[in-house]
């Protein structure tokens, strides 16, 4: 039986073509080689080894960064300890806050340069680094700066004291923004930090180190050590670290939690997710389709809170999937520096291989795969926007985090079924609900066992809004008043 023509279908097939609109790299200054940032200056690594960081859109090296080994991490932790016991913990809170404000301003002032470097080093579209990553990073410093002299109002009945040296390990999907989530609250609360950026995206953290110098922070308050997993492990396990903050995979998070057992160190973990976007028949369908696209294709799907599962009510499933496919066709995959690009480069070859292996797993599990037909550049690491239908709850592509532009679609009939499917993974980081019924929105947002729930929107972030997971998605919150907790001893 033919379905009646839908008047509401959006006409995407207009034959629009876009001329290249690349962002200039002229104003960007990147050194050929970066040392470790310890005690307020860039220093040579103990073993003298360096490794290249590549542009994932070209596979070409951008710069060399130092490989930090145990002695370097030790040196950085000592520098942080000296700064903590020296000027930083003795400073009047309002003065400490003013330093953090300076960092916010310096990020704002250098935002264009930082945005371009973020896209060069990590592969994300310039539109996103320019409009989301960098402004949010600055906003985060601005927000927490103001807390520095107001901590006594945050925890009624308790006195708050800083913890000491924080060891922080961040991922490659939002390099500078994750740095801000870690460093801003730590400093505002009076701690000093040693931060390790991801090995594929170290550059904006090193540019941030320059800003730390420019801001005149006392040496050792912020230290940046570059390297891969071994460097991170050395930092996490260093006995001089009082608090560990990690954002990354659930797999590594469990290893860290295990290794911290019995040490008395405090820790917060921001781990993986497998969020469901639950779309009801009464939703504004076109809006929902935009939300689904934003949910899974934002930042190439390299988002821990990505809406990587779509649960769509059966009566509108066909319509939603048709519209989704049509919308996917319009997405432009390519040069991250081009202002028209929707989906940039996959962050690394290893990640691309992981995504591809999941595509094979999905097919082997009997799911039906659909990819958009867009062209992709020859050099570089790319993945077309992808969706799977015909999947079941126990499939690996439904249960496991892929961390790429890959959406698994299931249907449901009743609200109860939708909720049960949404909650049926080991994760609990985020979720989405699409419906025009107010009461249903709040029934669903209460029912979803996750730390962040978006109703009729998705992937929104703000420094005042706490972020973090239930279940195996981690523990502790970042952002907002609740994010202070991770960097304070409330029993003081």
């Amino acid at each position: 039986m033919d379905r009646p023509a839908r008047a509401s279908a959006l006409a995407f097939e207009g034959g629009w073509t876009y001329s290249p609109a690349p962002e200039s790299t002229e104003h960007v200054r990147i050194d050929e080689r970066y040392g470790l940032f310890i005690g307020g200056e860039f220093v040579r690594p103990a073993e003298g080894r360096y490794f290249p960081t590549l542009n994932p859109a070209t596979e070409e090296p951008i710069a060399e960064v130092a490989l930090a080994t145990d002695p370097d991490v030790d040196r950085a932790v000592r520098a942080a300890r000296a700064a903590f016991e020296g000027p930083w913990s003795r400073m009047k809170p309002i003065e400490r806050g003013k330093y953090v404000y300076r960092l916010a301003r310096l990020i704002q002032e250098r935002s264009r340069e930082l945005a371009v470097i973020e896209s060069l080093d990590g592969g994300k579209p310039i539109r996103e680094s320019r409009d989301i990553d960098i402004p949010l990073a600055a906003a985060h410093f601005f927000y927490y700066a103001g807390w520095a002299d107001k901590l006594e109002y945050a925890f009624p009945g308790r006195r708050a004291a800083p913890l000491g040296v924080a060891g922080q390990v961040i991922p490659w999907n939002f390099p500078l923004l994750m740095l801000a989530w870690k460093i801003a609250p730590a400093l505002a609360c009076g701690n000093t930090v040693v931060l390790k950026p991801a090995e594929t995206t170290p550059l904006t953290a090193l540019k941030f180190a320059e800003a730390v110098q420019d801001a005149g922070l006392p040496p050792g308050v912020v230290n940046i050590v570059t390297g891969a997993g071994e460097t991170g492990a050395a930092l996490v396990n260093h006995p001089g670290v009082d608090k560990v903050a990690f954002t990354g995979s659930t797999e590594v998070g469990k290893i860290i939690q295990r290794s911290l057992a019995g040490t008395g160190k405090r820790y917060t973990l921001e781990l993986g997710g497998k969020a469901a976007n639950v779309v009801f028949a009464d939703a504004a369908i076109d809006q929902a389709v935009e939300g689904i696209v934003n949910g899974i294709f934002f930042n190439q799907g390299h988002v821990c809170c990505a809406g990587s599962r779509l649960l769509v009510q059966e009566s509108v499933a066909e319509e939603v999937i048709d519209k989704l496919k049509a919308r996917m066709e319009t997405l432009i995959v390519g040069d991250p520096l081009d202002k028209n690009t929707d989906i940039g480069a996959i962050n690394s070859q290893a990640q691309l291989e992981k995504i591809r292996s999941y595509l094979e797993i999905g097919l082997a599990e009997g799911a039906e795969m659909h990819q958009s037909s867009c062209p992709v550049p020859e050099r570089g690491w790319w993945c077309r926007p992808t969706l799977f239908t015909g999947v079941s709850q126990s499939n690996r592509i439904v249960q496991e985090e892929i961390f790429g532009p890959v959406l698994a679609i299931q249907t449901f009939r009743t609200e109860e079924e939708g909720l049960a499917k949404a909650n049926n993974t080991p994760y609990g980081l985020s979720g989405g609900v699409w419906t025009d019924k107010g009461a249903k929105v709040f029934r669903m947002t209460r029912g979803i066992r996750a730390g962040v729930v978006w109703a009729n929107t998705f992937n929104k972030f703000d420094p005042t809004a706490p972020f973090g997971g239930y279940k195996e998605s981690g523990m502790g919150r970042e952002g907002g008043l609740h994010g202070l907790d991770a960097y304070l001893d409330l029993d003081a």
Binding site: A139, P156, G157, R158, T250, G253, K254, I255, Q257, R258, L260, A261, G262, L269, L271, P426, V441, T445, R446, A450, G451, V452, V453, W454, A455, N456, T457, K460, D462, T464, A465, P466, F467, G468, Y470, K471, E472, S473, G474, M475, R477, G480, L481, H482, L490
Partner: protein, 293 residues
């Protein structure tokens, strides 16, 4: 025909069992521990719960979770208040039981009174901790954004050895007033008050499965509490050495369990209670809702 001799009345001894899913079963293992008073006389054969008993208790706790978490704060407050009322009516029974296990009469009476007061304290928090700890977040975009507390889920509790009743109450109440369900391993050396307290819970409109109580060997069971994949948080009170505590934390990492260590706490102190103890087993949920779009 002789008249029967005047004999003293034979007291009826209580059988102490487990409390799982609102019932009082014996351990499925059939094992027991002869529990003796300080003079060496057997007071009771206490159940030596097995790992299977613990797993059964977790199933009961998980099944009870949705319903209990969904009750109103007002109702949870009234249920806790009812627990205090029931305990108040049995002060003498509990004081005698604590004395039987070695407390002085004065100390036993004081512990029972402190336990009642602690329950009242948490009953009053039921509809207030949310207001203290939640937030409306002034985001820089047109969204109504707020963060509230929600219970973590199923909480396993290794209760302190002493004070057996007050320590039990001080760890169970903050978890359940916040909507969690719990499985508690009672004090190994003084297990009786916990089981008698289960009878109080049973008479207080606490839904079946919200509180489950096991008795047994801590060294045998603690690892199961820490490693169970359907337990969301583990509360550890005094009773393990440093190696065992480390092992518990390692096991807990298997499903990213929240580990709340409450070792070295003076449970008689006022500081041993309060909303931060409730918050220990709560998650923060942030909800985004568009405004004016």
């Amino acid at each position: 025909m002789n008249r029967p001799a005047r004999t003293p009345r034979v007291p009826v001894a209580k059988t102490y069992k487990l409390y799982i899913g609102g019932a009082f079963p014996r351990t499925e293992s059939g094992r027991y521990i002869a529990h003796r008073d300080p003079a060496g006389a057997v007071i009771a054969n206490v159940c030596r719960a097995s790992r299977k008993d613990f797993r059964n208790a977790v199933v009961a706790a998980r099944n009870a979770f949705g319903g209990w978490a969904g009750t109103s704060a007002y109702l949870r407050g009234q249920v806790l208040y009812r627990i205090a009322e029931m305990l108040e009516g049995r002060r003498e029974q509990f004081a005698a039981e604590l004395a039987k296990e070695g407390s002085s009469k004065r100390r036993a009476a004081a512990e029972v009174d402190a336990s009642i007061d602690r329950i009242i304290h948490y009953a009053g928090w039921s509809d207030k901790y949310q207001q203290v700890f939640s937030a409306v977040n002034p985001v820089a975009s047109p969204h109504f954004n707020f963060s509230v507390l929600e219970p973590t889920g199923v909480v396993a509790i290794l209760a302190p050895e002493q004070p057996a009743l007050l320590g039990f109450v001080s760890n169970v109440m903050p978890a359940i007033v916040g909507g969690n369900t719990v499985v508690v391993l009672a004090s190994e050396s003084r297990p009786l008050p916990a089981i008698s307290f289960a009878e109080v819970l049973h008479a207080s409109d606490v839904p079946p499965g919200v509180v489950n109580v096991l008795t047994g060997r801590r060294a045998e069971l603690r690892r199961e509490l820490a490693s169970h994949m359907d337990v969301n948080a583990l509360v550890v009170c005094d009773g393990d050495d440093a190696d065992a505590r480390r092992e518990l934390q390692q096991e807990a990492a298997e499903n990213v369990k929240r580990v709340i260590e409450r070792c070295g706490t003076d449970w008689r102190a006022e500081r041993a209670a309060g909303p931060y103890h409730i918050r220990d087993t709560q998650e923060i949920k942030t909800t985004w809702h568009p405004v004016g779009i």
